[in-house]
């Protein structure tokens, strides 16, 4: 599908995600006030009040625009990496188990259901509590370790979600006649999976993966808000967490990261929907 054929809403989503990805890649080199420097002369500057701080500052004098831009990288990378790894593991498991059926399928499906029954937030809280805290509260846990644990917990959340999608799609595709036809030509199972099953299952996984990215951004933000995410205010979620007490006298300092986060999630969902509708129309043409 070409960009021109998209509706206005979809176009906006694609453009917005493009901007976000630009911030992820080049955000560090954009000449802006350092996100970690607070401007003692401009605390709580409102939206568009000052040329120096276009989106204003929060009550501590941190520049919101630069924080939002720098926050894109951790927020997006955490969700992209966990959806990427989780999707890879989940769909591999799902496709193989659904193709082979039998005991393997039963075991994998049961595991998926068990993991699905644990709420994402509870899992994240538990993992951070166990793996990324120090018995001695005076010694700080390095941020990188927290990030890895958060990615790990989000990956575990994603595996069964995408795994079940892959499993379901494989179940329906592996009963199609062309799979029997490929077998009747003497193709090995591994060749059939790679050449016949995967190309058909992939679009469904893409579509759900985009929805999952949106979900993961929100979960990461919620973890930050609960104080177990990235604490020092470098991701969007932790920006919201940092200013949660200031809603009364500097509401824009919360509105800015919330709007950015919401727009990104909506754009991801929209892109997932575009992919899914394309999938439907191709099915319809058969």
């Amino acid at each position: 599908m070409k960009f021109k054929q998209l509706g206005i809403f979809s176009k906006a989503s694609v453009i917005w995600l493009g901007i976000v990805m630009f911030m992820v890649v080049f955000g560090q080199w954009i000449p802006l006030p350092k996100p970690t420097n607070f401007d003692i002369d401009a605390m709580g500057v409102g939206l568009f009040d000052s040329l120096k701080h276009p989106l204003g500052t929060d009550s501590n004098g941190y520049d919101l625009l630069s924080n939002v831009i720098r926050g894109a990288r951790p927020s997006m990378l955490i969700s992209l990496i966990s959806v990427g790894i989780g999707g890879l593991i989940g769909s591999t498991l799902g496709i193989i188990s659904a193709y082979k059926r039998g005991k393997l399928d039963y075991i994998v499906n049961t595991l998926f259901n068990i993991v699905l029954s644990v709420p994402a937030l509870v899992l994240g809280l538990a993992l951070v509590a166990v793996l990324a805290t120090n018995p001695d509260p005076n010694i700080e846990v390095p941020t990188s370790r927290r990030v890895i644990v958060i990615i790990l917990s989000l990956t575990i959340v994603i595996i069964p979600i995408l795994g079940r999608i892959a499993r379901g799609a494989t179940l329906s595709w592996s009963n199609r006649e062309f799979v029997v036809a490929a077998r009747s030509m003497g193709m090995k199972d591994s060749q059939i999976i790679m050449k016949h099953i995967v190309p058909n299952v992939l679009p469904a996984i893409y579509a759900v993966a985009f929805l999952a990215i949106g979900v993961v951004i929100v979960v990461e933000g919620s973890l930050s808000l609960l104080g177990v995410g990235i604490v020092d205010g470098v991701s969007w979620g932790s920006m919201i967490a940092r200013v949660r007490g200031d809603l009364e006298y500097a509401p824009h300092s919360m509105i800015v990261p919330v709007v950015v986060l919401a727009l990104t999630v909506i754009a991801c969902n929209q892109l997932g929907d575009i992919l899914r509708s394309q999938l439907d129309s191709r099915e319809g043409r058969l």
Partner: protein, 325 residues
């Protein structure tokens, strides 16, 4: 001529919630090199299961096979899975009923066609492309180079079935199973595809098993015909002999149910009353007894054996046609 495929006492049963379903009940068949056999029967008579089981394609855990399948001197019923797979494509190949579902919708014709060539015959990309074009020419597809780059949904049903035939022929099989190759196509295309299959069989000197529910389809295109009913071969003869000298009441009923131009258009079409017996509950007598117009008491109690008559004609009936009863 030497025997290419021989089935002896082949039985296929499926586990179902209602018990054992016997889809094929003791079939003996022999296909000689270069010969074509038509397998005819109504829906549910076990034709498709028979052809898939002969190839060994029924691998679901609920399917059970007994009896022997010997292909080209090799007993496939005792061979390893790998050995059976080695015969697929190069020894036996199959054309499927529905060309709409038997091609992968997301891959181009070219890659699906060259897949077998590259994997089974170890051809390079270039050789495979050259051979693919030859194959598409062989099945009379116009502008083969352009067709290679198309997706299945860009081709018509007849063209897709030609592609299916080209894929099946890719590795020069000795035996081609055509499982209702024309059922999903309209009548004019049917005739073309059948003619193509017969021509190709002679050009390439293959054997062919043509599975269909339409006696008219096999009439002009096969050397021998096996009529199946309820998982058994009920009549087997050379095509000419069968049409000249029908012995089995079921075959006669099948022939009578073909609509004819000289029938009154206002009259009812001839049908075979009743339906196939429940395959999970085999009856002691003849499977066709409940629908047979010539049924007698013996038919209800004693299962008829396959009898051999002149000219290699075989039939499974206590009171065959053409004999005073």
């Amino acid at each position: 001529m030497s025997s290419l495929l021989s089935l002896s006492n082949l039985r296929i049963t499926f586990d179902t919630p209602r018990g054992q379903l016997a889809a094929v009940r003791g079939v003996d068949l022999e296909i000689l090199a270069g010969e074509s056999l038509g397998v005819v029967g109504e829906s549910g008579s076990g034709k498709t299961v028979l052809s898939r089981a002969s190839m060994g394609l029924l691998t679901m855990s609920t399917a059970h096979r007994s009896g022997t399948v010997v292909f080209d001197g090799q007993d496939l019923s005792t061979a390893s899975r790998e050995a059976v797979r080695d015969t697929w494509g190069t020894g036996m190949a199959m054309i499927f009923q529905d060309p709409m579902t038997a091609l992968n919708p997301v891959r181009r014709i070219g890659s699906q066609l060259s897949e077998g060539l590259r994997v089974r015959l170890g051809m390079s990309r270039k050789e495979a492309k050259k051979r693919s074009i030859e194959l598409l020419q062989l099945v009379r597809i116009p502008d083969p180079e352009k067709a290679l780059r198309k997706f299945p949904n860009q081709l018509s049903g007849g063209m897709r079935q030609r592609v299916m035939i080209a894929i099946a022929l890719a590795c020069n099989p000795k035996l081609l199973f055509a499982d209702e190759p024309t059922t999903a196509l309209d009548v004019t295309v049917q005739a073309q595809i059948l003619q193509l299959l017969s021509d190709l069989r002679q050009e390439l000197d293959m054997s062919m098993v043509l599975v269909t529910h339409d006696l008219g389809v096999v009439a002009g295109h096969t050397d021998k015909i096996a009529v199946m009913y309820a998982g058994e071969v009920v009549e087997y003869a050379e095509t000419k002999e069968l049409f000249a000298n029908v012995r089995m009441p079921y075959t006669e009923a099948l022939l009578n149910s073909i609509p004819r131009l000289d029938q009154k258009s206002s009259g009812r079409m001839a049908v075979i009353e009743g339906r196939l017996p429940d395959p999970t509950q085999p009856e002691p007598g003849c499977a066709f007894a409940s629908r047979c117009p010539y049924v007698q008491e013996k038919c209800q109690v004693e299962h008829p054996e396959l009898q051999k008559a002149d000219n290699g004609h075989q039939f499974r009936c206590h009171f065959p046609l053409g004999v005073a009863r």
